[in-house]
């Protein structure tokens, strides 16, 4: 039973990934005016050079063959090289960037979940009060601040203006230190990016959670829970919050997948973290097609995988979904 579900999921994943790869390939290789050879050869290259480049990179072959070759180099032989820096292997570069992005997103996710649950539950428990309203105002402010702007402001404060004060003298220079090399420095260098990335999500999640909890608290089963003699705290945590988790978990899975899949691009660029987002950003800047292809495929794999995990978790936390398929 569960095996069949997984198998079907896997087939769906393969189909989605195939479609994405074709789409991305067509956008960069077959869009009118998008001649990869012209970009590789550089500005003002002679027709002879262009032809040579075209032949050297296999760009004179029919599109399906080109697509097949790229997929073969990407997935089977895994020796796809950059168009911009000839000889640079794509796959190892991506694999090297993954731990950076994972470190960033994991830490931020821990922070945003803890704060969002704390704020959402507090606001819902004190609904209608001044505390509720001010928390929700702060959350709205958090959602409204774009991450790249907040990141720059944080950098300005911690790296420049107040770097020499007691408050921020511990903040290391921008960049990434691997966890295996120096755990303390890893932590220190990520605290600011984690916080900056988490702010938007704390705002969003706490607002969604509060709305969910307030709605759940009007349900009949909450009245039953109260009638059983549970305290308000038990009612909220065991019954209302448990029900709201169903929404929150599916939201979290998708956001987490999207961020690990490259959605953390802005914060990575602002905080100079060499993650997958940064790699995508650089590849897009000089239109390095193999890199674009690889990072997009990596992102797609992650998002589709996150979706699958969410669906599985859904079955775990909502018994009503189990019988439904």
């Amino acid at each position: 039973m569960i095996f069949l579900v997984l198998l079907r999921r896997l087939a769906e994943m393969v189909f989605v990934l195939f479609s994405i790869s074709v789409l991305v390939f067509l956008i960069f290789f077959a869009t009118p005016g998008a001649d990869p050879a012209a970009r590789i050869a550089g500005r003002g290259a002679s027709p002879a050079t262009l032809a040579a480049v075209r032949h050297a990179f296999g760009l004179d072959q029919p599109l399906p063959v080109q697509y097949g070759l790229m997929m073969k180099h990407l997935f089977i032989t895994q020796d796809l090289t950059s168009f911009v820096n000839p000889g640079q292997l794509v796959i190892p570069a991506v694999l090297q960037a993954v731990p950076v992005t994972l470190s960033l997103v994991f830490g931020a996710a821990v922070i945003w979940l803890i704060f969002a649950v704390a704020i959402g539950v507090t606001a819902a428990a004190l609904r209608g009060s001044v505390i509720d309203r001010s928390l929700m105002f702060l959350a709205m402010a958090g959602v409204s601040m774009p991450v790249f702007w907040l990141g720059e402001v944080a950098n300005l404060i911690t790296q420049a203006r107040f770097h020499n004060t007691v408050l921020f003298s511990w903040v290391p220079a921008l960049g990434y230190v691997p966890l295996t090399q120096n755990p303390l420095l890893w932590f220190k260098s990520l605290v600011i990016p984690w916080t900056v990335l988490a702010v938007t999500y704390i705002g969003l999640y706490s607002r969604v959670l509060r709305a969910n909890l307030v709605e759940a608290l009007t349900e009949d089963y909450i009245r039953t829970a109260r009638a059983k003699g549970l305290s308000e705290r038990q009612v909220i945590f065991r019954h209302a919050l448990r029900m709201s988790l169903i929404t929150l978990v599916s939201m979290f899975g998708l956001d987490f997948g999207a961020l690990v899949g490259g959605g953390a691009l802005l914060i990575e660029v602002v905080c100079a973290l060499p993650g997958v987002g940064m790699l995508t950003y650089q590849a897009l800047q000089n239109l390095d097609l193999p890199f674009i292809m690889a990072t997009v495929m990596y992102g797609a794999i992650f998002i589709v995988a996150a979706n699958t995990v969410v669906d599985m978790l859904y079955l775990l936390i909502d018994p009503r979904a189990r019988g439904a398929r």
Binding site: Y221, T224, G229, M243
Partner: protein, 320 residues
């Protein structure tokens, strides 16, 4: 006397001013007695029930009067003391069993949760007790059912689960708010029979809230008829059914469909509709719909009077 409600009034603060929903309601409930509170929707019967459990959470509600439970006024109890009563000495079952259970926990876990609040039983013993309760509710294969989730059970089954849960800590008072309204007719009869059986076995007093005179006739020892937030008439079930003294009660009884004889349209038995709380007349709230009304009815509300049989009507003796 197990429960003694004295001059209970419930009103709500609204932008339009105070909205009186329940006014000056008094009634008593003895040990192992079944009292039915009958009324149309909006008559304040459910709010009365909820106020006994102190489950009215609306911060704009104002509750006055006394609710003496075993001689103690529960309206003045502190919240922790009230929590010990709720689900322990007094329990409540609700109208719609489809939504009254938390969807993500098994039946057994939800009953165990209540047992564990009020007793010191370890989980495994609470689990056994939950299963034996389910079996006592006429659920075959209780052990299996206790592992199911609410959505896997029918409405009748869920109401049995609700009753099992309510009885799990042997409450002295069971409040049943329209326990059969959401169920099929055949299941209705089973649930009512179950309630009657339980009164004998568990010796609980039952406060039955309903709008159905048929259910009252089958189950209740005494009846209190509510209209627009006040008690119109109360007394022993047999007396009320044989000789209704309030025109409203008489109308309700006339509206019961008969098996034999001419068919009556239940909705035309009493013309008009009850007044909304903010539109209540100065006099008797039923006067605008009443065939017996006289001049004084519009001037002041009639008082509930009488020792065993209480009626709030100026012409109580003349209704036949």
């Amino acid at each position: 006397m197990l429960l003694d409600v004295q001059n209970l009034s419930i009103s709500f603060r609204t932008p339009r001013g105070l909205l009186p929903v329940v006014e000056d309601v008094s009634f008593q409930l003895a040990e192992s007695e079944i009292l039915a509170i009958v009324g149309e929707s909006g008559s304040g019967k459910s709010l009365t029930a909820l106020s006994i459990m102190r489950l009215i959470t609306d911060p704009n509600a104002i509750i006055t009067g006394k609710i003496l439970f075993k001689g103690e006024d529960i309206l003045t109890l502190k919240e922790p003391a009230m929590r010990r009563l709720r689900g322990g000495a007094m329990a409540m079952i609700f109208q719609d069993p489809m939504t009254a259970l938390t969807p993500v926990y098994t039946i057994g876990a939800q009953i165990v949760e209540q047992i564990r609040i009020h007793t010191k039983l370890p989980t495994w013993q609470a689990r056994l007790r939950a299963e034996s309760l389910l079996a006592a509710m006429g659920i075959a294969d209780a052990q299996q059912i206790s592992r199911r989730f609410p959505h896997q059970l029918s409405g009748g089954m869920r109401q049995r689960v609700m009753i099992a849960m309510a009885l799990s800590c042997s409450p002295a008072l069971l409040i049943a708010d329209e326990p059969t309204t959401a169920l099929d007719v055949t299941v209705q009869a089973q649930i009512l029979e179950l309630l009657l059986k339980l009164r004998k076995e568990f010796n609980s007093s039952i406060l039955l809230i309903t709008h159905d005179m048929g259910i009252v006739a089958q189950t209740a020892d005494r009846v209190a008829v509510m209209y627009a937030g006040r008690i119109a008439e109360s007394g022993a079930t047999g007396d009320i059914f044989a000789h209704p003294m309030h025109p409203y009660t008489a109308g309700l009884l006339a509206a019961i469909p008969q098996l034999h004889g001419p068919r009556i349209n239940a909705f035309s038995a009493i013309p008009g509709a009850p007044p909304a709380p903010h539109e209540k007349p100065a006099g008797c709230a039923f006067a605008p719909r009443c065939a017996y009304r006289i001049a004084v009815c519009a001037e002041r509300p009639p008082l509930l009077h009488g020792p065993f049989r209480q009626v709030a009507c100026f012409r109580a003796g003349e209704v036949a």
